[in-house]
C-alpha cells in the first residue's frame, strides 16, 4: 500500500502548481475570460511547452506517456486555479477518444497536433432529451462513398465554440436508446453543413450548440460499436473532473478557514464560535472523503472490466457531487454576504463545483447506476 508520488510525479505536480500560482491569479483569470475565445491562447502555448498537452499520449505521438495519476495531479492544480482552457475537452476527453478508438493513422495525425497546441477538440454528445445518457442518440450518420454524412443537433458542447474538430456521437442503426449502432465521427468545425453558436457557461467556461445538416464525418473506431470505447474515455474524464473538484473544494476550504480567522464580529474572530469551528471541520471531512474517492476513481480509470470501472467511477462521482455541494454551500454561508459577490473568489469556486456535478451525470444519476449494479460491496453468503 503506497499513496506516495514518484519523483517524476512530484516534479510534475510542482511545476503545474507553480504555473497556476504564477499565471492563474484571480485577476489574470478575469483577463483570460475577456479574450476572444474566453480563455488564453498564451496559457495554452505554455501548457504545450510544459508538455502538459501531450501528457497522456504515447511518446511516439509527441506525448509523455503519463497515466491517470499524472492527469489527476494536473487537474487538481487546475481546480485551484479555476482554469478556463479546454484541457478536459481537448486533451483528456478528445485525446482520450482518439487514443482509445482511433486508427494508427488518426492517432498519428491528431495526437501530435494536440500535444503541440495546434488542435482543439470538443466532444458533442448531448441532445435535447438525452440528459446524461451517452447511448441516447438521435443524430444520424449515413454512409456516403468512403465517408459519412451527419444530421442532427448537439447541445452544450463544452468548448465547442473554439474547437477545430468535433467528435460527434451519431447513430447508424437502432432505436434512440439502443446501445448498438452508435458511432463516433470526426467533423471539421468549419466544414460545410456545420454551424455553431457559442456562449459562456455558468462557471465562466464556454460551450456551443452545434447543428449538423449533411456534414461530412470520418468514423473513429467501429461506427456501429463505438459506445464501449466512448464510455471508457468518458469514465477517464470523470476521474479527471473528480480531481479538479478536489482542487476546487480544497480552495474553498482554505478560503473559508482564512475568513473564519480574520473576519471579526461581536469583538472576536468568528472562527472562535465553536459552532462555526464544527462547520469548518465538517467541510474538511467532506473534502477528505472526496479526495479519497477521487484517488479511487484515478486508479480505477484504466480498469478494463467495464462493470468494475463503472461502479468505481459512479461511486466517485456521487461522493464528489455530495461533498462538493456541502463544501460549496458552506463556503458561501460562512462567508456571509461577501461570498455572494462576483468580486470575491469563493463564489466562482462554488459555481464551478456546481457545474462539475452536472457534467457526465450528476450525483443522483450515478447513485442509481451504482445501486443497479448492486453497490460496491458484495452481499453476505
Amino acid at each position: 500500500m503506497d499513496f506516495d508520488l514518484s519523483d517524476d510525479q512530484r516534479l510534475l505536480k510542482d511545476s503545474v502548481e507553480r504555473l497556476i500560482a504564477d499565471k492563474y491569479g484571480f485577476e489574470n483569470r478575469k483577463k483570460y475570460m475577456q479574450q476572444p475565445d474566453g480563455w488564453s491562447r498564451e496559457i495554452w502555448a505554455q501548457l504545450a511547452e510544459l508538455g502538459l498537452l501531450g501528457l497522456p499520449f504515447a511518446e511516439q505521438y509527441g506525448g509523455f506517456g503519463g497515466g491517470s495519476v499524472e492527469t489527476m495531479l494536473v487537474m487538481e492544480a487546475f481546480g485551484h486555479g479555476l482554469v478556463l482552457e479546454p484541457y478536459v475537452s481537448t486533451v483528456v476527453l478528445g485525446g482520450g477518444l482518439i487514443r482509445g478508438l482511433g486508427s494508427a493513422a488518426q492517432q498519428a495525425a491528431i495526437l501530435p497536433a494536440i500535444a503541440e497546441g495546434k488542435r482543439l477538440l470538443a466532444f458533442a454528445h448531448v441532445e435535447r432529451h438525452s440528459r446524461y445518457d451517452l447511448f441516447d442518440v438521435v443524430t444520424t450518420a449515413k454512409r456516403e462513398g468512403t465517408g459519412w454524412t451527419l444530421n442532427g443537433a448537439k447541445s452544450v458542447v463544452l468548448h465547442g465554440d473554439s474547437a477545430d474538430q468535433f467528435l460527434v456521437t451519431a447513430r447508424i442503426a437502432g432505436g434512440q436508446r439502443a446501445r448498438d449502432g452508435i458511432g463516433l465521427f470526426l467533423v471539421d468545425a468549419k466544414g460545410a453543413g456545420v454551424s455553431r453558436r457559442g456562449y459562456p457557461t455558468q462557471d465562466g467556461l464556454r460551450a456551443a450548440e452545434v447543428t449538423l445538416s449533411g456534414a461530412a464525418g470520418e468514423a473513429v473506431g467501429d461506427p456501429g460499436a463505438a459506445l464501449p470505447g466512448i464510455e471508457h474515455a468518458v469514465d477517464r474524464t470523470i476521474a479527471a473532473l473528480c480531481a479538479e473538484a478536489v482542487g476546487v473544494m480544497a480552495s474553498m476550504q482554505e478560503l473559508t478557514l482564512d475568513y473564519l480567522k480574520t473576519r471579526k464580529q461581536f469583538g472576536r474572530a468568528i472562527g472562535e464560535f465553536q459552532v462555526l469551528q464544527h462547520r469548518a471541520v465538517d467541510m474538511l471531512i467532506a473534502e477528505e472523503q472526496a479526495r479519497s474517492m477521487a484517488l479511487f476513481a484515478t486508479v480505477m480509470a484504466d480498469e478494463i472490466n467495464p462493470v468494475e470501472r463503472t461502479r468505481a467511477i459512479a461511486a466517485a462521482k456521487v461522493q464528489i457531487g455530495r461533498s462538493g455541494r456541502h463544501v460549496g454551500q458552506e463556503c458561501i454561508q460562512l462567508h456571509g454576504g461577501i461570498g455572494m459577490t462576483m468580486e470575491y473568489k469563493a463564489g466562482h469556486y462554488f459555481k464551478r463545483m456546481t457545474m462539475i456535478d452536472k457534467l457526465y451525470g450528476d450525483a443522483d444519476q450515478h447513485l442509481t447506476t451504482l445501486a443497479k449494479l448492486g453497490g460496491l460491496f458484495g452481499a453476505a453468503a
Binding site: 447541445s155 456562449y199 454576504g337 456546481t354
Partner: protein, 398 residues
Amino acid sequence: MDLTFTEEERAFRAEARRFFRSEVPESIRRKVTEGIDLTKEDIVTSHRILNARGWATPNWPVEWGGQNWSPVQLYLYQDEMQQAGVPGPLAFNVSMVGPVIAQFGNEATKRRFLARAANLDDWWCQGFSEPGSGSDLASLRTTAKRVGDKYIVNGQKTWTTLAQHADWIFCLVRTDPAAKKQEGISFILIDMTTKGITRRPIQTIDGGHEVNEVFFDEVEVPAENLVGEENKGWDYAKFLLGHERTSIARVGQSKAQVARIKRLASLERAGEGRLIDDLRFQEKLAAVEVELKALEMTQLRVVAAARHQVKGKPDPASSILKIKGSDIQQVLTELVMDVVGPYVLPYQSPEDGSNEPPVGPDYAVGAAPSYFNDRKVSIYGGSNEIQRNIIAKAILGL
C-alpha cells in the same frame, strides 16, 4: 382543535386568489415564479395595483391605510399572493420603514411619508449593514453628528438591496459614540439625492445587480428626518425586524415552486418515460413536500397563537420559520436544476436583448442563477446561524 378555516376565511381566500390572479399582470407573475429579475417598473406596477385596493399595507394601522385583518387573514393573503407569483409589496416600504414611522414617528413625519411609501411614490432602501457590521449590527460605525438643525452623516452602508432604484434610505447611524453599542444608535431618513451620497453596484454571483454599497461623505440631513428619539434607534430596529412574523417562511412561494417543478418535470424526458414518472425524482420531491407541509402547519400554529400575543413583539418561533423556510426554498432551486439536467450549464442573461432563442428549454435560463442567488436567503435578515442563536437563547434558555 379545528384545522378548518371558517366560511368567511374561505371566502376571503377565494377573493384574494381571484384578485391576485386577475389583476396583477401574468407577465410579472411569471417572472417571479421563474426566478427572473423584475424591472423597477414591474415592481412599481404590481405594488400600485395592490395599493389601489388597500392591499399593499394591510398590516399598518387603519388610519394609515391598514386593514385590521386577523392573523389568519394576513396569512391567507400572503399565501395566496405568493402562490400566484405576485411580487410582495416592496418590503422596505411596507414591512420596514412604514411600520416604524407609524409607530414611532411624529405626526409631521407620518403625514410626509406614509401615504407616499404605501403607494411606492418613494422607493425606500434599508441602510443597516456595513462592511464591518453584519451579524453584529450594533457595532455599526456610520456617524451622524448634530450641528444646529442638521445631522452630518459620514460612513458607509453595504448590501443595500435595490438602492439603485431608491429615492430614500432609512439608516441606523451612531449619534452617541460614547454610549454602549446599542444605546448610541438612531434611526434616520435620508433623501438619496442629497449631496455627498454615492452608490456603487455590487454584482452577485448569479450575474445580477441587486445590492449596492452606499457611501456618505459629509451628508447634511435635516434634523426633522430623525424618527422618534435620538439614541433609541436600536429599539426601533428590533421592532422592525420582529414585525414580519410569518411571511418569512415563504410557504406560499415554495408551494408555487413545487407546482412549477411538477409541471416542468412532466415536460422533460428521462430514460424511457417522463421525469415526473421517475421514482427517484418523485421521492426526492415528495420528501421536500413533507417538510413544506410540516412548515405550513408550524406556521399556522404560530398564526393561531398570534391572537394571544402582543402586536409588534418579536416571536422567537419566527426564527424556526425563517430557518426551515429558507432551507426549503434553497432545496427547491436544486430540484429545478435537476429537472433541466445538462441545460443548467448555459449562461444566458434574460435581458441581454438578443433575439436568439434560448439554449434548451426556456425554463432552464433561471435554473442555476436562482440556485446561486438563493444562497442569500440563509444569510440575510439575520443569518440562519444567528436565528439558531436566538432560538437557543429565547426558546431553550441556553
